[in-house]
Structure formats: structure tokens, C-alpha cells
């Protein structure tokens, strides 16, 4: 078997995927780039090289505001995932094999549970006549329902519920790769557990932490369904704006420019994460 033959066979095996991707992934993305430079006037799209959309997106004051709000929301979600996920990953590392399997089950199974089902569950708990508000009213503790959803809190809570697994798994992976003797050495030299964690464990787990943060941040930037259900019209994010601009205004050029804005933010996050990981490796 010659090398050329092997090469041909590999490309042949890859060809169905490449063909599909070129139609459903590469072409659409290229089309969005082209459309973002088109002009939209009186509901007519004329192609060309215009910067109108970008001028509008950065200049109308609203889009950029919503963009930053989406970034802020994604940061809240990422931070919450770190705070909840890191302890779980640390417990998983120290647990017995059996306990670890159970924990893994609890962490992974939500990954495979329908997102909309999980949102429904939160609506039933946090809604105006959800469990919490109903119970508190029954006990006479509150007169009017507490605003538990249709705000940032509700959205963050429900998105964290969906994406927490994506934080725990990479951190757990990084923690497992740490040689425990480095921590024991630090402890035997008199470092307190907190110092051991801060100066030995945490720096070594940075690659996993960076991977988890990148993943959760990227997913949060693009999430549509959960903010719509949990935020109603009170939490407007960039994906919601894009959807509205296309479905109700048919303004493809503006929506394309906004999509590229979203992609740029995600690209920046990936670059930052790569830098952190490289830094972590140099240690």
C-alpha cells in the first residue's frame, strides 16, 4: 500500500463530512461574512462592500449595549460555574472509585437531559406562581410574588444548571493529572491547606480551568432558548436580538454583522484561553 493510496483512502473517508460541512457550515458562515457588508435599504438587500451595518452595530448605541450585557451575563454564568464546579471537581478527585462514578453520573446526566425540560423545571420552581412563591405566600411570609425569574438571576441560575458539567469535567481532568506528592511536599514543609491549594493545586489546574471557562463562556454567549424562557423580554441578549432582526425585520445584513460580532468575541476568548494555557504549561 503506497502512501498516496493511503492518503486517497483517508480523504475518501473524510469526504462525506467535508461535503456536508461545506454546505451547512463553511458556505453559510462565508455567506454571513458577505452579507454583513451588504446594504439593507427599504427592505431590499444589495450586495457590495458597505460598512453601514458595522457602523450601525457599533454606532446606534443599543446593539453595543446589548453586546456588553451579553458579555456580562456570560461572565456571571462562568464565575458561578467556577464557584460551584471547582469544589465538585476536587471532591471527585478525592472520592473512592465508586463515589467518583456516582458523582460523574450526576454531573454528566444533566448534559444528556433536554435543555427545554430543564428550563420548564425552573419555571415551575421560580415562576410567579411557582413552588417557592406559592409556598412563601401560603406561609404568609410575602404578599406579592418575589421576582425570581424574568431577570438576570433567573437566567444565570438556569444557564448554570445547563452548562455546569462543561466546567466540572475539564477541571476534574486537570486535577487528576496533578501529582499528589507536590501537594504533600508543600504540606509537609508547613504550608496550610489553603496555601497548598492556592500555590500548588490551583496553578497546576489552570489549563483545565481555562478550558472550562472558555467552553462555558462561549456556550453562554450563544445561548438563546434559556434567556428567552427565563428572562422573558426583560433580559435581552445578542442572540435574541439577532433572532428578532432576522425573523421580524428580515434585516439579514444587520443580523450578519451582529453574528460576526458574536464570533469575534468568542474568538477573543479562545485566544485568551490559549495564552493562559501556554502560560500554565511554562508554569
Amino acid at each position: 500500500m503506497t502512501e498516496a493510496n493511503e492518503n486517497f483512502r483517508a480523504w475518501w473517508l473524510l469526504s462525506p463530512t467535508l461535503l456536508l460541512y461545506s454546505l451547512t457550515f463553511l458556505l453559510p458562515v462565508c455567506l454571513l461574512v458577505v452579507m454583513s457588508f451588504a446594504k439593507f435599504e427599504n427592505s431590499v438587500t444589495s450586495f457590495g462592500f458597505y460598512l453601514d451595518n458595522y457602523r450601525k452595530v457599533f454606532g446606534d448605541g443599543i446593539t453595543i449595549l446589548i453586546f456588553w450585557r451579553t458579555v456580562k451575563l456570560s461572565i456571571y454564568i462562568t464565575v458561578a460555574c467556577v464557584l460551584l464546579g471547582f469544589p465538585v471537581a476536587m471532591v471527585m478527585r478525592r472520592a473512592s472509585p465508586r463515589g467518583r462514578l456516582w458523582l460523574l453520573f450526576f454531573i454528566v446526566s444533566p448534559l444528556l437531559t433536554s435543555i427545554i425540560v430543564r428550563n420548564v423545571a425552573w419555571v415551575l420552581i421560580l415562576g410567579r406562581s411557582g413552588i417557592i412563591n406559592d409556598t412563601l405566600r401560603e406561609w404568609g411570609l410575602i404578599a406579592a410574588p418575589l421576582p425570581l425569574m424574568y431577570n438576570t438571576f433567573g437566567v444565570v441560575l438556569a444557564v448554570v444548571h445547563v452548562y455546569l458539567s462543561f466546567m466540572v469535567l475539564p477541571i476534574y481532568g486537570a486535577l487528576q493529572a496533578i501529582n499528589p506528592s507536590t501537594e504533600e511536599a508543600a504540606a509537609s514543609l508547613g504550608a496550610s491547606p489553603l496555601r497548598v491549594f492556592w500555590f500548588v493545586t490551583l496553578p497546576q489546574s489552570l489549563p483545565g480551568l481555562a478550558a472550562g471557562c472558555t467552553l462555558v463562556f462561549i456556550l453562554s454567549m450563544g445561548v438563546y432558548l434559556t434567556p428567552v424562557i427565563m428572562g422573558g423580554n426583560f433580559v435581552l441578549t445578542l442572540p435574541m436580538l439577532i433572532t428578532d432582526v432576522v425573523r421580524n425585520q428580515y434585516n439579514w445584513p444587520a443580523a450578519s454583522a451582529m453574528s460576526l460580532m458574536l464570533l469575534a468575541a468568542i474568538g477573543a476568548m479562545v485566544l485568551a484561553s490559549t495564552a493562559v494555557r501556554r502560560f500554565g504549561r511554562q508554569g
Binding site: 451547512t24 453559510p28 446526566s109 427545554i116 423545571a121 444548571h161 433572532t243
Partner: protein, 269 residues
């Protein structure tokens, strides 16, 4: 001594947080299932009386039947296609002495990191140009784009730990190249194949935003649930959610019992 004490205290704190997190993950779903068995016409917890009233309601409703049928049909078309195409790609990536394999691998799984909203927008535009937006011709390729990366990852991880000399042994004993793969390699990497198939099914069954763009009149189950939920929170939505949960939980259980937990099959690397 002091350190040991604070270490134990610290670990207890970690355990407490973990217990809270697990409760946070599981309790809402448990409550949802309990609520779905209410016999009342409203949702409350705990329900004053229990019954299968809303399950009967949902299972006999034409809207729910149609959307569930469409979602099942779609997932049943997508899963085998995704498994076949993704497995081919995983073999191609694993076996070919390709230059730039890393870059190609990154390209192959990149639909995972592209926000589905952007992907959906682009696919919607192409489907509009081709005039196929509200049909299986658009739904199936769109779903395949987001499921194939999962198959490439799970099957690729299995192939990486597969000892290729077994396949070569079969060939030297007279098996054809394809025969060796079919009778030797595929049975050995079966856990990866099962994981890939289950991920494909669940992702397709649960997909919302891309189908939301594409569909005009067609309603998949997530679309139907969404529009019901936006209109009113009724016990029927709890019953449908519980049924969906049962389907995905069943598939997840298969995945777990096969010893292919996502973290180990390399979903997150």
C-alpha cells in the same frame, strides 16, 4: 496538627458544597416529575392528589402526537446517518498519514464551538435560497452538522485505544480490509459507537434554535414545548417534559452501563 484539622474542615466544606450542587442539579427534575402526576387542573407542589390525567391528555392530543412523531422520525434518520458519516471521518482522521491532522480534526469538530444561533442563521439562509427551509431536506443536514462532531470524538477516542495489529492480524489471515474492519475493529470499538449514536439521538431530539429558524409550519417537540410554555404553564407541559426525560434518561442509562461516561470517552478534552 492544626493543619490536619483545617484540612479535614476544608474537605467537609467541599463535600457540603458538592451535596448542594448535586441537589441543585437533580431536585428541579425530580420536582418536575412529581408535579406531572397531579390530578388537578393546575400545578402545585406537592400536588393535592395524584393521577395520570395529564399523561392521558398529552398522549391523546394531536398536537403533541404530531410533534413527537416528527422529532422521533428526525432523530431516527439523523442517528444512523450521523453514526455512519462520523465513523468514516473518525477512521479517516485516525488512519490516514495526513499532514495537518490536528488542523483537520479541529475543523471537523468546530461546529461544536460555533454558536448554534450563528450556524442556524447561516443554514436558514442557504435553505431559503434552495427553497427547502421547512422540510426534512433542511432539518436532517442541519442536525447532522451538530451531531457528527460528537461521533468523531467518541469513535475517535475508541479508535485511539484500539490496537491496530488485531486488524492487521485478521488481514494476514485472509480477511479483506473491509471484512477486518467490520468483524474485528467495529465490535471492539462498540462502546464508542454506542456513545456516538446516543449523543446523536439526544442532540437531534433536543435541538431547538436551528430548527426554530428553519421551520415555518413543522413543529418538532422542542418547538411545540416552547410555544406552549410561552403561552401558558399548564400541567400538560410537565407531563410532556417527564416523558421526554424518560426517553433521554433511558438512553443515558444505556450509556452509563456501557461504561462510556462522557468524561472518559473524551467528550471534554
Amino acid at each position: 496538627m492544626e493543619n490536619e484539622y483545617s484540612s479535614r474542615l476544608g474537605y467537609r466544606l467541599l463535600l457540603a458544597i458538592t451535596a448542594l450542587v448535586i441537589t441543585f442539579l437533580i431536585a428541579p427534575l425530580a420536582i418536575l416529575v412529581i408535579q406531572s402526576f397531579t390530578a388537578e387542573s393546575y400545578l402545585s407542589f406537592p400536588p393535592p392528589s395524584y393521577g395520570l390525567r395529564w399523561y392521558a391528555n398529552v398522549l391523546t392530543s394531536a398536537d403533541w402526537q404530531d410533534s413527537a412523531a416528527l422529532s422521533l422520525l428526525l432523530a431516527c434518520i439523523v442517528t444512523p446517518c450521523s453514526l455512519a458519516i462520523g465513523t468514516m471521518a473518525a477512521f479517516g482522521l485516525n488512519r490516514g498519514p495526513l499532514k495537518g491532522r490536528q488542523a483537520l480534526y479541529a475543523l471537523m469538530i468546530s461546529p461544536m464551538v460555533l454558536p448554534h444561533i450563528v450556524l442556524g442563521l447561516g443554514i436558514f439562509r442557504i435553505a431559503l435560497e434552495l427553497n427547502i427551509s421547512d422540510s426534512m431536506l433542511a432539518f436532517v443536514p442541519a442536525h447532522l452538522t451538530i451531531t457528527i462532531p460528537f461521533v468523531i470524538i467518541t469513535v475517535g477516542a475508541s479508535l485511539q485505544s484500539f490496537d491496530i495489529s488485531m486488524e492487521e492480524a485478521a488481514q494476514s489471515l485472509g480477511a479483506s480490509r473491509f471484512g477486518a474492519v467490520w468483524h474485528v475493529t467495529l465490535p471492539i470499538i462498540r462502546p464508542g459507537l454506542i456513545a456516538g449514536a446516543i449523543f446523536s439521538f439526544i442532540i437531534s431530539f433536543d435541538e431547538f434554535i436551528i430548527t426554530f429558524f428553519l421551520a415555518t409550519y413543522s413543529r418538532t417537540l422542542p418547538l411545540e414545548m416552547f410555544s406552549t410554555l410561552m403561552f401558558q404553564v399548564k400541567p400538560s407541559i410537565a407531563a410532556v417534559s417527564s416523558l421526554t426525560l424518560a426517553v433521554t434518561a433511558g438512553l443515558t442509562a444505556i450509556l452509563m452501563f456501557r461504561g462510556q461516561v462522557a468524561g472518559e470517552s473524551g467528550i471534554i478534552k
